[in-house]
Structures are given as structure tokens and as C-alpha cells.
């Protein structure tokens, strides 16, 4: 009897607990991403897509890409897009006047002014957290990369450890230099650029979280820089968590930040009813991260998630689920590249370069400085097989260092293809025939956990080893920390990396890939730096200063040709992306320049 009662109680309890009726809520949006949430919500520091996504919903920029079209920039918090034709941009492109929209409210009820706009950019530049995105303002406005460079321009040191070491008079001068780049004139903000910089408007456009507009008074009230020209060093290069907007926000965007629940890896937003374009259809937004795909998938099936992140390899599992919409082949401004190091240190790097000599058991330090070796590698790769078998057709084969969705790219540029005869020919010419005769042994590296990149290297390994039995290629997976360490000393002979655009302009790829001060020159050894100084730097500088589109096109075509001719590196994939959502999601609009997966202001939910 007792046992029966117990069983009954347990059964009733289970029944009570298990009552779960899925209720369709048209006003709540739930997106479940994969691993990794936002790192900061401060527009001056955020430089990752997860942070950019939240900032996208909470703040507005001066401009936007209308309908997600990269060729159609329209006003947002500005009332007009400056052009030479409408008189808001000077002929030389160095003075840009932006009329600011009136009657726009921040989430705290304050009204937007041109002062807020200037403060937004000025504060970000003065704060300039290390590794942050503010170089995008320094480069066009002052022709430098960091606030440290500005301090050096003002006569200060560029190697100080603590800013308090620097003479306050110099810091004031540095402030004046930055301050002079922007001027408030009534309801307008005027930018004074150091040089013409055609993509400057793109930098200010939605998708650029760094150009989000904040409320000056709210910022000061919440402990941010007070606007005083002499106090800014207190807020210079703070740790992310010490910055005012790290986990707080007050923008003019369609959604307000309710909470960033860091321990629960989720961000809760709610509709801003006074949004200047009218309130969004969605009332509540939950953006959370669950690393386990199966859990995300079950949430999507159950209707607990409106959209989830699905990796390319898992797409076949969701394509056939009833009630789920998969939008594929969405273009991205990205490429995946196999890089060569032109000057490889040998000592302590024997696991990758073997003997360090061209004796069949290793490679010499300058192995990849020989263009024939680089071309041989480039012709040995099976681009089609990678595209079709590994990434399942989600992308296209590049034509050089610039993704083909960008302007000024020569889509007719002759590019490498899988051609073992040509690869053999180049290997025979390399090092005056010594490579062919003696053979080599090299370790090529991917960061562990990235299986697609591992497979790419295995394809290369297979093909190269087929050409000559004396060629030995070993695919090596290294932890990301070790990859970073070896990159710093350009110790990786061959490595794979991806690059994602900050703003949709060819310049954004030309500098990191080809300039002597660019990111990859630093990782590919002195040999590439010397080559870049000799052949690329002047062209890149001319490309960004040219205001005539025809002239820019000519320059970037030439850079693209040189890159392929010299086989500086081997871009092998321009991946497309996709979105997976329930079929009740309406108004989906995609823009390749946006960090946000969905433009939630335009999204509504209608039960099917």
C-alpha cells in the first residue's frame, strides 16, 4: 500500500513538472549562438562579432546600408550622406560635413545632438584600448594607428609603459591634435581628414560598432571621460572591464540593454518604445550561447529558439526539418589564406623546419622567399576538391587577396588552379634545381579544433608528396596559444588563417595582406616586409588617397596582379554563410557588413 502511494505521488509530481506547453510568443526573439559570447559592450573596445551584434541592436550609427546593399549607403542618425555632389564633402575629400538628425531620443530620454556624436568618437580615440578598433579613426583623421602614435606626434615618447610618465603638456597637445579633427557647427559635425580616405563613410556606417553614437551626459554621469581636455589620460587604455560601457549601454537603437547575464552567457534586450523610426515588432530579445550543437538543435525543433547557429558541417541535419528555414549562400567579406613565412628562424624551430638546410631533411630559413616554391605550393592545392568536398560548396575560389564582393576587384584575374604539372615545373626551378634534387621536409600548421583547415593542409600534403618522393610534408596541429607564440616570431613556415573585413573596402585587405606594416607582414618574416616596402607600400598608400574610383580600381587591380604573380600567399576560399531560423520569422534581411546575425528591427514573427 505504502509503495503504491509513493509511486502515485512520484507519478503526479512528474506529471506536474512535465507540463510544458509550447506557447508561441510573437514578441520574443530567442537566438542561440555557439561558443563565445560578447567580450565587451563598449563600442570603443568591441572588436569581435558577438560584441558587435549586441551593439548593433542597442546603438545607431550615422549611416546604414539600405536593404543590406553595400553599394547603397543611406542616412541613419545623419540626415544626408555626404558627397561631393551634395556639397557636404570637399572636392579633395578631406572635409566632410554630416548633418545630424533632430528629435532622436536616447534610451534615457535625452535628445541627440552633434555634441554627442563628436563625444562618441573623441572619447573612443582618447580611450584607444590596446587591440581595439579605434585605428579606423586614427588612420583617416590623423594618418596614424593609435593614440600612442598621436602622443609621439605631439613630441612624447611612444614606448611609455604608463601614461602618467608622459609630460601633461604633451598630453594636452596630443588631445588638441585629436580634438581638431572634428568640429561641431550647429547641428552638423565636420570631420577634417589628414588625407582623402574614400571608405571613411563606410567606417561610420552601421556594422561598424566602433562608430556607435553614445549619449555624452549619460556617459559622464556614469563615470566616463568628463570632456575635460586635461583629464582624458585617466581613461586611456583601460582594461576592458574598467571601461564605462563594458556592461552598460545607453544608445538610440531600437532595443535597450536589460542585462548581460555573464554567468548565464546571455544578453536580454527589450524594445525601446521611443525609437525614432518607430518601435520594433519584437518586444523582448534573448541572445544566448550554448556550445553544444545538439542542445541548440533541440531548442530550435521545440520552438524555444527562433534561430540558432549551425556550422556548415551540420547543415544537412537541419535542411529537412519541417518548420525550419535555411537561407544559404549568403556572401561574406572574408577569405581563408595559406600564408608562407619568407624568413623562418631555424633555432628552436626544428619541429617545423627539420635540419634547417636544403638537404632533404628540412628547409632553409629562406625556403619560401623563392617565388618558385610558393607557386609550386599554390599549384599543388586542389581548390575544387576543397570547395566541393570539404566546405560542401559553400563559397568560391578567390582571385587574389581581395574578396570578390569588394569593389575594385578584378574578377578576371588569372589565378592558381590544381595543376601538378605546373607545380612540378616550379619545384624544378626552385633553388636552381636543388629542391627537386635533394627534396625537403617541412611542418605545416593549423590551429587544433579547426578540421576544415586541417583537411586543406592534408590535401596540400597529399598532392605535394605525390610530385616527388623526396618531398615530405607533415600536417601539424598546434594549440592556438602555441600558434600565436610562433606567429610572433614568424616561425610558422606555412599556416592557415581567415580574415574578416572591418569595413567593405579593398583597402581593408590590402594593408593587412600586403603592406610592410600590415598584420601578416609581421608574421611572415623580414623577407615579406622588404618585398612589401619595395613593391606594394607606395601603391597601397596611393590607393587609399585616390578619390577617383577609376584610379583606385587601376591601383587595386595592379596590387591584385602583383600578389598573384608573386604568390605572396595562397588565398583558397571565400566562404559564404547561412542562417537557420524557424519559418515564422519574417523580414529577414542580410548585410555582409553587419556583425549582427539578424537585423532585429526588421524582424517579426508570424505563426505559420
Amino acid at each position: 500500500m505504502k509503495a503504491k502511494v509513493c509511486s502515485l505521488v512520484v507519478l503526479l509530481l512528474l506529471l506536474t513538472l512535465s507540463v510544458s506547453v509550447f506557447a508561441f510568443d510573437p514578441e520574443t526573439w530567442v537566438y542561440v549562438g555557439g561558443a563565445g559570447g560578447p567580450q565587451t559592450l563598449d563600442p570603443a573596445a568591441a572588436y569581435d562579432t558577438a560584441s558587435g551584434e549586441i551593439i548593433h541592436y542597442v546603438y545607431d550609427n550615422l549611416f546604414e546600408y539600405v536593404g543590406g546593399d553595400l553599394d547603397n549607403i543611406g542616412p541613419l542618425l545623419a540626415t544626408e550622406v555626404p558627397t561631393v555632389e551634395n556639397g557636404l564633402m570637399s572636392e579633395d575629400g578631406r572635409t566632410i560635413r554630416v548633418p545630424i538628425r533632430q528629435g532622436v531620443k536616447f534610451h534615457n530620454g535625452a535628445e541627440l545632438t552633434a555634441e554627442d556624436v563628436k563625444y562618441s568618437f573623441l572619447r573612443g580615440m582618447l580611450a584607444d584600448p590596446a587591440g581595439g578598433p579605434m585605428w579606423m579613426f586614427f588612420e583617416p583623421l590623423l594618418g596614424v594607428q593609435t593614440m600612442r602614435d598621436v602622443i609621439a606626434m605631439a613630441g612624447g615618447p611612444d614606448d611609455f609603459v604608463d601614461i602618467s610618465e608622459v609630460d601633461p603638456a604633451i598630453l594636452r597637445k596630443a588631445y588638441d591634435l585629436v580634438d581638431a579633427t572634428m568640429e561641431v557647427d550647429g547641428n552638423d559635425l565636420i570631420f577634417h581628414l589628414a588625407n582623402p580616405y574614400p571608405p571613411f563613410i563606410n567606417i561610420l556606417t552601421k556594422g561598424g560598432s566602433w562608430a556607435s553614437i553614445v549619449c555624452k551626459d549619460w556617459m559622464i554621469a556614469n563615470g566616463a571621460w568628463d570632456g575635460n581636455p586635461d583629464t582624458w589620460p585617466k581613461w586611456y587604455d583601460q582594461a576592458l572591464e574598467e571601461m564605462t560601457l563594458y556592461d552598460k549601454a545607453c544608445g538610440t537603437g531600437p532595443f535597450k540593454l536589460d542585462t548581460w547575464d555573464k554567468s548565464g552567457a546571455q544578453v536580454l534586450l527589450s524594445r525601446f518604445d521611443d525609437y525614432w523610426r518607430g518601435p520594433a515588432a519584437l518586444k523582448n530579445v534573448v541572445i544566448k550561447n550554448i556550445p553544444e550543437f545538439a542542445t541548440r538543435l533541440l531548442m530550435l525543433r521545440a520552438g524555444d529558439a527562433d534561430a540558432i547557429y549551425v556550422g556548415q558541417q551540420d547543415l544537412p541535419q537541419v535542411r529537412t526539418i519541417p518548420g525550419v528555414t535555411v537561407v544559404e549562400d549568403l556572401p561574406q567579406i572574408t577569405n581563408t589564406v595559406l600564408f608562407f613565412s619568407f624568413t623562418i628562424p631555424v633555432e628552436g624551430n626544428e619541429d617545423l623546419v627539420g635540419s634547417g638546410k636544403l638537404d632533404g631533411n628540412g628547409i632553409p630559413s629562406d625556403f619560401f622567399a623563392d617565388v618558385n616554391v610558393r607557386k609550386a605550393f599554390a599549384y599543388a592545392f586542389d581548390y575544387e576538391a576543397y570547395l566541393n568536398e570539404v566546405v560542401l560548396g559553400a563559397g568560391q575560389i578567390p582571385k587574389g587577396p581581395f574578396p570578390q564582393s569588394l569593389p575594385y576587384v578584378n574578377t578576371e584575374q588569372e589565378y592558381f588552379s590544381h595543376d601538378l604539372a605546373k607545380a612540378t615545373e616550379y619545384f624544378k626551378q626552385a633553388f636552381n634545381g636543388e629542391v627537386w634534387e635533394k627534396g625537403f621536409k617541412v611542418g605545416i600548421v593549423y590551429n587544433t579544433g579547426n578540421d576544415a583547415r586541417k583537411t586543406a593542409l592534408e590535401i596540400l600534403e597529399f598532392n605535394i608528396e605525390q610530385i616527388n618522393p623526396k618531398f615530405q610534408v607533415e600536417v601539424i596541429g598546434l594549440e592556438w596559444a602555441t600558434v600565436l607564440d610562433k606567429l610572433r616570431s614568424s616561425s610558422l613556415p606555412v599556416f592557415v588563417m581567415g580574415w574578416l573585413a572591418d569595413f567593405p573596402d579593398t583597402h581593408n585587405f590590402a594593408v593587412p595582406f600586403m603592406h610592410s606594416t600590415g598584420t601578416f607582414a609581421g608574421y611572415c618574416g623580414q623577407g615579406l616586409i622588404d618585398l612589401a616596402k619595395e613593391q606594394f607600400d607606395a601603391l597601397i598608400d596611393a590607393g587609399i588617397k585616390a578619390t577617383d574610383p577609376a584610379e583606385r580600381e587601376k591601383i587595386y587591380h595592379e596590387l591584385q596582379r602583383l600578389y598573384v604573380e608573386q604568390a605572396i600567399a595562397m588565398p583558397f576560399m571565400e566562404a559564404t554563410t547561412h542562417r537557420v531560423m524557424r519559418d515564422w520569422v519574417q523580414g529577414f534581411e542580410y548585410c555582409p557588413a553587419y556583425a549582427a546575425n539578424y537585423d532585429l528591427y526588421k524582424i517579426s514573427k508570424v505563426q505559420q
Binding site: L17, G131, D237, S263, L268, V286, L298, A302, A481, W499
Partner: protein
């Protein structure tokens, strides 16, 4: 006994200094540019990053002893440092994540221990009979199944098919109340806080979210306890005093409960102690599958990202737990078996 407890507690700082020193020594084997990977988590984040600036900013180029002394100084001020992987101070991260793990452990430990002992007792009582074989096979299947696989099976059945027990710690509606409403967080444990806030709806929701991970943990660990209990009971059942008890005419129930099971519980207590420790340390896979954000997942993520401030903080915390739980187990020995005297 009090002297024993005091002596063990005095030993605590030595243990903690030892483990943290070990971690610092291990960290010293990494270069500053390996440590900077905490701040640049993937190749895609390399954009225009100055590795040297980051190394300088976070003091990663300082000698290891300087970093250790700084860390100890801050520790003495109650500051465990900031965790980049958790996006919050280490102490705050532990304070927020540990209650989730503790709650799961509290809900899991009862079915795990009682179920395991019960199955072990049944097996021993029906030694080499079909019931014994069945319960052993049942439990050993659980022990053999990878926790990841079994967790997914449970999730698929109870959430995917029936829609009963969803992943996470709370439903969206409850989360929004807990995170943004007037809900007061007293303990960080959703069930307890819900009762203290008089929110039965949130209490039931929290319980619903606990059931699937508890089922998973219970089934996975029953075999372990079953085997210990069963062998221990079989050993005790052959003792002279058990035969004497039977000869006195005591009922089988009394013999089993009073004379056999109680004496068989000492090894079970030892195992249960390590189980509690395991549960409190967090069960990474179960936390991952059920999106149950506990301290195990926190530590694993931190370790993967070389977030050494977090690793140090959680190690310190685990060290503390280890000493305390072992102390409790030692005290339990004395309670279970009066012959044991703690010196």
C-alpha cells in the same frame, strides 16, 4: 575529535599555497605570447592586434615570481583577479557559478547515493540470482556509457520527444523575472531563492530543469556505488556476527539493515565523499549537454583559454572544498563506526 579537525584546518593554507605555486610554475613554462591567447581567442581576432601592446598592458612579460607575489598580495586583499574568459572577477564568477553546481549536487546526491546503495543491497541480497544479474547489468551499462552520449539520449527523449525537461537552469520567462525583476538572489540556487521569494512557479520551473541532469548523473554513477556496496555487503554477510544475529532468530530485514548494511557503509562513505567532491567540482559534460552553467564548465573554459587568474581562483576553491569534504568524510567514519577514533 576537535583537535583532529583543528589540525586538518591548519593544514589548509599549506595545501592551498602548494597548489597555486604548482600552477604558477606550470604557467612560467609558457611564453608571454602564449599567455596572450587569453585575450585573443581565435585567429579571426588577430585583426590589427598588437601582441606587444597586450603583453605590456596585462603584465604578461613580468617574471613569474613577481606575478605570484602580486597575485598573493591581491588575494590577501580579497581580490582573486579578473577572468577574461568569464567576463567578470574570479570571486564573482565562483560566487555565481558554484551555487548552480551545488544545487545540482544537492539534488543529485540523494538519488545517486540512495539508489546506488539500494541497488547494491538488492544485488547482495539476491547474490547470483537473476535480480542480481539484472541490476548489475543495468548499472554497468550506465557506467560504460559515455556521459556525453547518455546525456544527449536523456535530453532527446525528455526534451526532444516529450518536451518535458528543457535544457538550461530556467525557462526564458523565469529567467527574465530572476534577472530583471524584483526577485532577490539569496543563495544563487534557483530552487531555494524561488521559495524564499515565494515564487512557486519559478521553483517548479527550476526543478523541471534539474530533473534531466539528475537522471543522467544518477544513472551514470549508480554502478560505482552498486559495486562497492554489493562487495562490501557480501563480505559482511559472511562475518560471524551476522551468522550470530541470524542464529538469535532476528528477522532477515533486521539482520540486513542493522548488522550488514551499517557495517558495509564505511567504504561506501569513502566513495560517496569523492562523489560529492566530483559533483561539487562540476560535471563538465553534463553541464555542457544540458546548458547548465556551473563551475565545471567555467573552469574547463578558463583552462582551455589559458585564463590563469580563473584557473588559480578555482583551484584555490577546489583545494578548500577537497580539504573540507575529506574532513567531513573522516568525521562520518567515526559516526558510522564507533570503533574509529579520530586522533
Amino acid at each position: 575529535m576537535l583537535t583532529f579537525i583543528a589540525r586538518r584546518l591548519l593544514f589548509l593554507p599549506v595545501v592551498l599555497i602548494g597548489v597555486t605555486l604548482l600552477i604558477f610554475v606550470a604557467m612560467s613554462l609558457l611564453s608571454p605570447y602564449q599567455l596572450v591567447s587569453t585575450y585573443i581567442k581565435s585567429p579571426e581576432e588577430l585583426k590589427n592586434q598588437s601582441l606587444d601592446d597586450l603583453v605590456r598592458k596585462y603584465g604578461l612579460d613580468q617574471p613569474v615570481h613577481v606575478r605570484y607575489i602580486n597575485w598573493v598580495k591581491n588575494l590577501l586583499k580579497g581580490d582573486l583577479g579578473y577572468s577574461v574568459s568569464a567576463n567578470m572577477h574570479v570571486a564573482e564568477a565562483i560566487a555565481k557559478r558554484f551555487p548552480a553546481t551545488l544545487e545540482l549536487a544537492l539534488f543529485a546526491i540523494i538519488p545517486v547515493v540512495l539508489g546506488g546503495i539500494w541497488l547494491g543491497t538488492i544485488s547482495a541480497k539476491h547474490y547470483n540470482k537473476p535480480l542480481d544479474h539484472f541490476s548489475r547489468v543495468f548499472a554497468i551499462v550506465g557506467w560504460s556509457l559515455p556521459d556525453f552520449v547518455f546525456g544527449l539520449i536523456v535530453l532527446m527523449i525528455f526534451y526532444g520527444v516529450f518536451g518535458w525537461f528543457p535544457p538550461g537552469r530556467l525557462s526564458m520567462w523565469a529567467d527574465s523575472i530572476v534577472l530583471t525583476g524584483d526577485f532577490v538572489r539569496y543563495t544563487g540556487m534557483n530552487t531555494v531563492d524561488a521559495l524564499l521569494n515565494k515564487r512557486l512557479d519559478i521553483f517548479w520551473d527550476a526543478v523541471r530543469h534539474l530533473i534531466a541532469p539528475v537522471i543522467t548523473l544518477s544513472y551514470l554513477w549508480w554502478a560505482y556505488l552498486l559495486r562497492i556496496t554489493r562487495s562490501s555487503m557480501l563480505e559482511v554477510m559472511n562475518k560471524d556476527y551476522v551468522r550470530t544475529a541470524r542464529a538469535k532468530g532476528l528477522t532477515e530485514r533486521v539482520v540486513m539493515n542493522r548488522h550488514v548494511r551499517r557495517n558495509a557503509l564505511i567504504p561506501v562513505a569513502t566513495v560517496s565523499g569523492s562523489m560529492v567532491l566530483g559533483l561539487l567540482g562540476g560535471v563538465v559534460i553534463v553541464e555542457t549537454v544540458f546548458d547548465y552553467k556551473g563551475i565545471g564548465l567555467l573552469t574547463a573554459t578558463g583552462a582551455q583559454q589559458l585564463d590563469y587568474t580563473l584557473v588559480l581562483g578555482t583551484t584555490l576553491f577546489y583545494g578548500l572544498l577537497l580539504v573540507l569534504v575529506n574532513l567531513v568524510v573522516d568525521v562520518l567514519y567515526a559516526i558510522i563506526d564507533p570503533r574509529v577514533r579520530l586522533e
